[in-house]
């Protein structure tokens, strides 16, 4: 399952967002330990179902392993570990969102993938000051969707591993 930028209709999750303005962006929503996260569609290369991971002994905790993506070796990041969430008991069903960082592909291991939303930049809200510092660091902002809150992830910040090492 691969997402394309142009195949998705604009959604009308909220009345005010149905009109697509120039300042709108598309986000792939993923779910992680119940929390909804958004990743800008432009940074997503691939979305994969459960993959066979090869463990890397002695690697940092947040490295889930490596996987074979059509002949390329991709390092998988355990996003729960990275964000300080409780680990899943059975991680074998984790889905992968493949992103690129410094010309290297990484797979973010998540619970499951939702839909693609087009959201207006103007509606993005700042991080609440009380947000967990680990989250505040990787969150670009919050969207108030009808049912729940969507935290927009800054993929680049995710690879700032000094803070991750502390995690």
């Amino acid at each position: 399952m691969t997402t394309g930028r142009d195949t998705l209709p604009t959604t009308t999750t909220r009345g005010g967002l149905s009109v697509v303005s120039n300042a709108a962006q598309e986000y792939v929503t993923v779910r992680l330990a119940g929390q909804l996260l958004g990743i800008p569609v432009l940074s997503v290369h691939d979305v994969l179902g459960a993959q066979k991971l090869t463990r890397i002994p002695l690697a940092p905790k947040w490295v889930a392993g490596v996987l074979n993506l059509r002949g390329r070796i991709v390092t998988a990041i355990n996003l729960r570990q990275r964000l300080g969430l409780e680990l899943r008991e059975d991680s074998s069903k984790d889905m992968s969102v493949v992103v690129e960082h410094n010309e290297e592909s990484y797979s973010l291991q998540i619970d499951n993938v939702g839909e693609v939303l087009t959201l207006n930049d103007a509606d993005m809200e700042k991080n609440p000051v009380t947000l967990d510092p680990r989250w505040r660091e990787i969150s670009r902002g919050i969207f108030r969707l009808e049912a729940e809150l969507l935290v927009i992830m800054d993929v680049e910040k995710l690879f700032n591993f000094e803070s991750a090492a502390a995690a």
């Binding site: 890397i56 002994p57 690697a59 490295v63 002949g71």
Partner: protein
């Protein structure tokens, strides 16, 4: 213009490297006109090219050096060391400027006045009346009208000439003069009769329309460059230097564009100096000119006119070519041959420049293809009778060939990494006031360019080291009885998928005393530890981090980085480095590196259910260790060790290193069944214990993600044939981790391990693997397992009897089957167990009743035997066992194998006589060892003379040495010479053992110092000689 600049940079860099080397040659051989011409030509080309690219700094420097070189050539100056040094400096400056030019595409600002002044003073100093360079050209080119010489205003360029710039007229003239004393008519714009059409073009001359002198210069340059790529033209120009070519074309184009018919005709006649230029070739030239003019962006009309104008010289060029064809009728044939030879040589020009990126991409794609191929093969293997089998087989074949081909494109001769060395050594010898001769062998040996890049620096460093620390000053050398000039040898060759590079010097060697002092000073080892070490081991401390023996830091080497950095760099690319050094004699370093880094053979192992790859280069062997097997894992306190032959190897559990299990869990296992991968990292050998070993696969090494770079335990990862990703273990990293675990450094372990080996050697290993069997009588018999080639069950019916001897067809040949003494007949029917012995061409079977066991026992032979076919008896497994003498049976099977034997009558030697046996044939070692042991000697057997010499280094003492003559690497004669030339063993009796026992050999043997010369297989003569020699030397002592 960018392309032009790039091409210029590449070419100039290549030329400069050549000039570097040639200058050093010139210095050694100042009279060599060829070398000088070559240098002059190259520098001149650089200068010329800089000129029209508008690079004034480069041009000035190049010009000034050319000036000096010109005077060398004209014998106005003599070649001196000082002058060469300055010219070399100016080349360095050119390189610096080029480097910046490459980085910024602009010539850096700055002044080279200092250097130019130096060069000029050299040029002037020795020949004060000579004017700067252009004068040289000028004096050979007197011409009315155009002012020549210093700072001339070039009429065609319309500006002042920069120093060193050659005006177009000058080039033209130079060319014309080369061809003949034709006058160059004044440039004329008059239209010629043959081109009336031109009148319609109006008053503007073709020359101006084409863009004047600048365009002509660029076009001529391109023509000169490209002409070699046209097969129809290359042969006519291949021996014309490029600058001459350029001059010719500049002249031709100028004449043509200025529509000066007469000049054009003259130039045309001289353009081709080889016979055989025909219409066809002219057409190719015409096309080339058209292409070039198009490239410099002339409009179509001008282009067509120019090409049309070219037609004018069609006949003159052909005529010029013909002129060379008929010097005399008799020479016509050789000329034709020469041309043919030229045609063959064309192949050399059939090459193109391809960008490295493209090759890298290609290589990556091929790697992917190899992986996919492996996947397909695996799939097909699992399916029987697949229709895909055959096409995939073909695909596999093609892929392999493709892989090989692409690898080849990345191969470069190692000489490319060496090209700078003569210059470096030369500079060093000047700086250090030493005389050093650099000899290079095997420069054409090819290896992957990636590897080449990576070894360049370590190599340079090592050669520097040899020159700085190795070679002594001339005075010291003379005092030591050596020639004044020290020699550094560089040798490269292929050996089994690896490339070996040897750097040896005949300098002072590494001072054991100095190293020892330094080791103590730095606390790298204790006095007691050093006591136990051999000189070789102490010398190897130079590979330790932060170790440098140079008494003072020179500007040459000793910049705080030492051999340890070299070692690290070499190990980084999966290579190994070793060293031998003899104080006062010199040192030899040997580097072994893989040919390519991209695809390597790796062993796939399993640990805690995960698979890992270990590069094959570091795997020495594989041992299985469980309760029932020959090898068991033992413990010294908490350290697991493995006894392997005469070595004691430290063990590392991969499970533990990777954090899968703890040591306690490992030790708590019941009936462990482990595989031990004997791994070598530098001088450190250890056993890596894994759960399972799969097969060996060719893997494509891919780097790990940057976020995992810190994990030194992995050198990369790869995708296996089944599509899964696995990590590639870096044995270096594993060793580091392991030593961290053990709270010990690998080095210390290595020493302990070597010490253990020495201990083992000291005891003189008596452990022998023995094959125990039953034959004839009830008592069991045994034979050293190492002598047995195979165990076979042969169908009784297949054994035939001929001439009283049993024979069987075995592996396509007839093999005699001999009954063990005491066995009266073969089995009646069914299968007959047979031990197969092989020595060289001889293969025989020994029929026995039953094979009982294989045991490892101290071979303590109790009783010498008087029975034929028996060495003696020993207690094995609590039973008296007869040891059979295989030599006896071989003699029985082949009458020519052994001579007849008499009973032993020599007095048995005194107890504990230590004997060293050197023989490259395992068979003889194993046969002679028990024989000699029975005769009462304590025997140490080695398979190479070099090993024996190592023992000597290690201080081992022997009472007798028996050496084979015909051995690889170092033969017996050479060995004897070394032994007898001095050292610990100079007075030990030396007995030669050889299959060649002609008088000539005997004579030579005695000459080099053998005390006796015995034919192989003559056991009694050997024993006799041994006791004789002992007696002789015993009396003497």
């Amino acid at each position: 213009m960018d392309d032009l600049l790039n091409e210029f940079l590449t070419e100039t860099a290549e030329s400069l490297e050549v000039v570097d080397v040639e200058l050093v040659k010139l210095e050694q051989d100042p009279e060599n006109a060829d070398v000088l011409d070559n240098i002059f030509r190259l520098v001149h080309t650089i200068k010329g090219t800089c000129g029209f690219l508008g690079l004034p700094r480069l041009e000035t420097v190049a010009h000034a050096s050319e000036n000096v070189l010109g005077k060398f050539r004209d014998k106005e100056l003599t070649v001196t060391r000082e002058a060469i040094t300055v010219v070399l400096q100016s080349l360095d400056r050119i390189k610096e400027i080029l480097a910046e030019l490459e980085a910024s595409a602009q010539e850096p600002a700055g002044s080279d006045d200092d250097l130019v002044a130096k060069l000029n003073s050299i040029a002037d100093g020795k020949a004060p009346e000579a004017a700067p360079a252009p004068a040289k050209d000028a004096k050979s080119a007197p011409q009315a009208g155009a002012p020549k010489g210093d700072e001339a205003v070039d009429p065609t360029l319309g500006r002042e000439l920069k120093p060193g710039e050659v005006s177009l007229d000058e080039l033209e003239r130079a060319f014309l003069e080369a061809e003949g004393p034709e006058d160059v008519p004044a440039p004329s714009t008059a239209l010629t009769e043959t081109r009336p059409g031109d009148a319609s073009q109006g008053a503007v001359s073709l020359f101006d329309r084409a863009g004047g002198a600048d365009s002509v210069s660029v076009a001529a340059h391109l023509l000169a460059q490209r002409i070699g790529r046209y097969s129809a033209l290359a042969e006519f120009f291949e021996d014309v230097p490029e600058d001459v070519r350029k001059a010719k074309f500049t002249g031709l184009l100028t004449a043509l564009l200025k529509e000066d018919e007469k000049a054009a005709e003259n130039v045309g006649k001289g353009l081709v100096t080889r016979p055989g230029f025909e219409d066809r070739n002219f057409d190719a030239l015409s096309t080339l000119v058209k292409d070039v003019l198009e490239e410099i962006q002339l409009d179509a009309d001008t282009r067509d006119d120019a090409v049309m104008a070219l037609e004018l010289v069609r006949d003159p060029i052909k005529a010029g070519s013909d002129k060379h064809a008929k010097p005399s009728a008799t020479q016509a044939a050789p000329a034709g041959q020469a041309r043919q030879a030229g045609g063959e040589k064309k192949g050399q020009n059939q090459s193109i420049r391809v960008s490295l990126d493209l090759l890298e991409d290609l290589m990556n794609m091929v790697s992917e293809l190899v992986l996919t191929r492996n996947q397909l093969l695996q799939l097909v293997r699992n399916q029987e009778d697949s229709d895909f089998a055959i096409p995939i087989q073909r695909l596999s074949q093609t892929t392999s060939e493709l892989q090989e081909g692409v690898m080849k494109t990345r191969m470069q001769p190692i000489g490319n990494a060496w090209s700078k060395l003569p210059r470096i050594v030369r500079d060093l010898s000047v700086d250090l006031d030493k005389k050093i001769d650099l000899q290079m062998k095997g420069a054409e040996t090819e290896l992957d360019r990636q590897v080449l890049e990576l070894i360049k620096d370590p190599l340079t460093h090592m050669v520097r080291n040899s020159a700085d620390h190795g070679i002594e000053s001339p005075a010291e050398r003379v005092a030591a009885g050596k020639s004044e000039t020290g020699t550094i040898h560089l040798n490269a060759f292929h050996e089994g998928g690896h490339i070996i590079i040897e750097i040896s010097d005949d300098g002072g060697g590494i001072s054991v005393e100095k190293v020892r002092k330094k080791v103590l000073e730095k606390g790298l080892a204790s006095e007691a530890e050093l006591e136990d070490m051999t000189d070789g081991q102490i010398q190897k401390f130079v590979f330790h981090a932060g170790f440098s023996t140079a008494a003072q830091v020179t500007n040459v080497s000793g910049r705080g980085v030492g051999m340890d950095v070299v070692r690290t760099n070499i190990e980084k690319i999966g290579g190994t480095i070793d060293m031998t050094s003899v104080e006062g004699k010199g040192s030899t370093f040997q580097i072994k590196i893989p040919l390519t880094l991209a695809i390597v053979a790796a062993m796939i192992v399993e640990s805690a259910g995960e698979r890992f790859a270990i590069p094959q280069i570091s795997v020495l062997e594989l041992v299985r260790a469980n309760e029932g097997s020959e090898h068991r894992i033992e413990r010294i306190k908490d350290s697991p060790v493995l006894r392997l032959r005469n070595r004691l190897l430290p063990l590392v559990y991969l499970n533990e290193v990777l954090g899968f299990t703890t040591r306690a869990e490992i030790e708590a296992r019941e009936n462990p069944d482990d595989f031990v991968v004997i791994t070598q990292v530098g001088a450190f050998t250890f056993g890596l214990v894994v759960d399972q070993v799969f097969d060996t696969e060719e893997i494509v090494v891919k780097p790990v993600a940057p976020i995992l770079k810190d994990l030194d335990i992995y050198s990369g990862n790869t995708i296996l044939g089944d599509g899964s990703v696995i990590m590639i273990l870096d044995p270096n990293g594993v060793a580091n981790h392991a030593s961290a675990h053990l709270g010990d450094t690998g080095e210390v372990q290595a020493q302990q391990e070597e010490a253990a080996v020495l201990d083992a050697a000291d005891q003189i290993s008596d452990k022998e693997s023995l094959l125990v069997f039953r034959a004839g009588s009830a008592g069991q018999k045994a034979v050293p397992l190492s002598l047995v080639a195979r165990l076979e069950d042969i169908e009784r019916a297949e054994v035939e009897e001929s001439d009283g001897q049993f024979m069987v067809q075995y592996r396509g040949a007839l093999m005699p089957v001999v009954l063990v003494e005491g066995l009266s007949k073969l089995v009646d029917d069914g299968r007959q167990p047979v031990l197969v012995f092989t020595d060289g061409d001889y293969t025989m079977g020994l029929a026995v009743d039953e094979i009982l066991d294989i045991v490892e026992e101290d071979l303590d032979i109790k009783l010498a035997s008087n029975h034929a076919g028996m060495v003696g008896s020993a207690i094995i497994n609590g039973h008296a066992t007869e040891l059979i003498d295989v030599g006896y049976y071989l003699g029985k099977a082949f009458s020519d194998w052994l001579r007849s034997r008499d009973t032993m009558e020599d007095a048995p030697p005194a107890k504990q006589t230590r004997l060293l046996l050197i023989d490259d044939s395992a068979f003889f070692r194993n046969m002679l060892k028990p024989l000699l042991q029975v005769a009462g000697y304590r025997v140490k057997a080695v398979d190479r003379a070099s090993q024996a010499l190592e023992l000597r280094e290690a201080g081992e003492r022997f009472d007798l040495i028996v050496s084979d003559i015909d051995m690889p690497e170092m033969d017996g004669f050479e060995f004897a010479q070394i032994v007898k030339s001095g050292g610990l063993w100079a007075h030990v009796p030396l007995i030669a053992l050889s299959s060649y026992a002609s008088p000539k050999h005997l004579e030579r043997g005695r000459k080099v110092g053998f005390d006796d010369y015995i034919a192989k297989f003559d056991r009694d003569a050997l024993l006799h000689s041994l006791s004789q020699q002992l007696k002789l030397h015993g009396d003497a002592a």
